[in-house]
């Protein structure tokens, strides 16, 4: 457990720093409220509509595909960390991961050809 002490310290300092910096400037900073100051900044124009615009499903599509490949990477991580140990099995661990990647590469070809990554 003590091995995590450094990490715990970093989190603690980060939290304290973050709270302190924003909190302090909020407390001791001068406040002269004006209506314009509270408007959203849109390159000098007056803002139109709300900030929460409805957005296209295309973003979601990309994000979803990202997650699927992200999960693929998750499985490569322990393999990569342990690869030196796994070398005692020769080329075999490499082939195992190759199979995994080739199967998902077919998926990638499929997505690419189906236009899953196009922005039309």
């Amino acid at each position: 457990m003590v091995a995590y002490f450094g990490m715990f310290l970093i989190i603690g300092i980060a939290v304290i720093l973050g709270v302190m910096l924003t909190g302090l400037s909020g407390i001791i900073g001068p406040k002269r409220p004006q209506e314009e100051k509270y408007m959203a900044y849109e390159s000098g124009m007056d803002p139109v509509g709300t900030a929460q615009e409805r957005f296209s499903v295309k973003f979601y599509m990309i994000a979803m595909l990202f997650i699927l490949f992200d999960i693929e990477v998750v499985f490569m991580y322990p393999w990569a960390v342990q690869y030196k140990e796994l070398l005692k099995f020769g080329w075999f661990p490499f082939l195992e991961m190759l199979t995994f990647i080739v199967i998902l590469f077919v998926g990638y070809i499929y997505v690419y050809k189906k236009g899953g990554l196009d922005w039309d």
Binding site: M64, L68, D70, I71, W79, Q82, L86, V106, K114
Partner: protein, 169 residues
């Protein structure tokens, strides 16, 4: 008490309280984006709790996949649906019943887990760090590992069929 045990207790309570705060924030925030951000806090502290159980790999994945990728999807859905701030909701009988049932189930699990307290599991091998997981995944658990690719493929095809605009007329 040694420094180690004090640190362990402090570590647990820090993340436990942070996690519960995140959970309360999730259900009390009226703005859906703020609720989603509270959920990140919750995910993050759960990763901390995993660490306190020596499950390093799980903690890393929790941050990488849940607090990172899944949360992006959550926020996208919120923006996609253009959700507005939550209005005051009416209480009705079904909700009360659902709450009671949930509470009952929670109590049941609490009772059961309590009977488990302090007993260690023999037979289970220490599988929290990244190295043993990598070793097991490439040897004894090779088959499930390769078959995960089928799950991912099925999800990939499903995503294309359902979310792609012109996948068919």
């Amino acid at each position: 008490m040694t420094f180690d045990s004090i640190f362990q207790i402090a570590f647990f309570w820090f993340f436990a309280i942070l996690g519960i705060a995140g959970g309360i924030g999730l259900i009390t925030q009226k703005n859906p984006v703020m609720a989603a951000l509270s959920l990140i806090l919750n995910f993050f502290s759960i990763a901390g709790l995993y660490l306190s159980l020596q499950a390093e790999f799980l903690a890393v994945i929790q941050i990488l996949v849940y607090a990172g990728a899944i949360m992006v999807l959550f926020l996208f859905v919120i923006m996609l649906l253009n959700m507005q701030d939550e209005q005051n909701q009416q209480f009705d009988v079904m909700k009360g019943l659902a709450f009671l049932l949930g509470l009952g189930f929670f109590g049941e699990l609490l009772f059961v887990f309590n009977s488990f307290m302090g007993k260690s599991v023999s037979g289970a091998f220490p599988l929290g760090k990244v190295e043993p997981i990598g070793m097991q995944m490439m040897t004894n658990y090779l088959f499930p590992f390769e078959m995960i690719s089928v799950v991912l493929l099925a999800a990939l095809i499903g995503a294309i069929i359902i979310a792609k605009k012109h996948s068919y007329k």
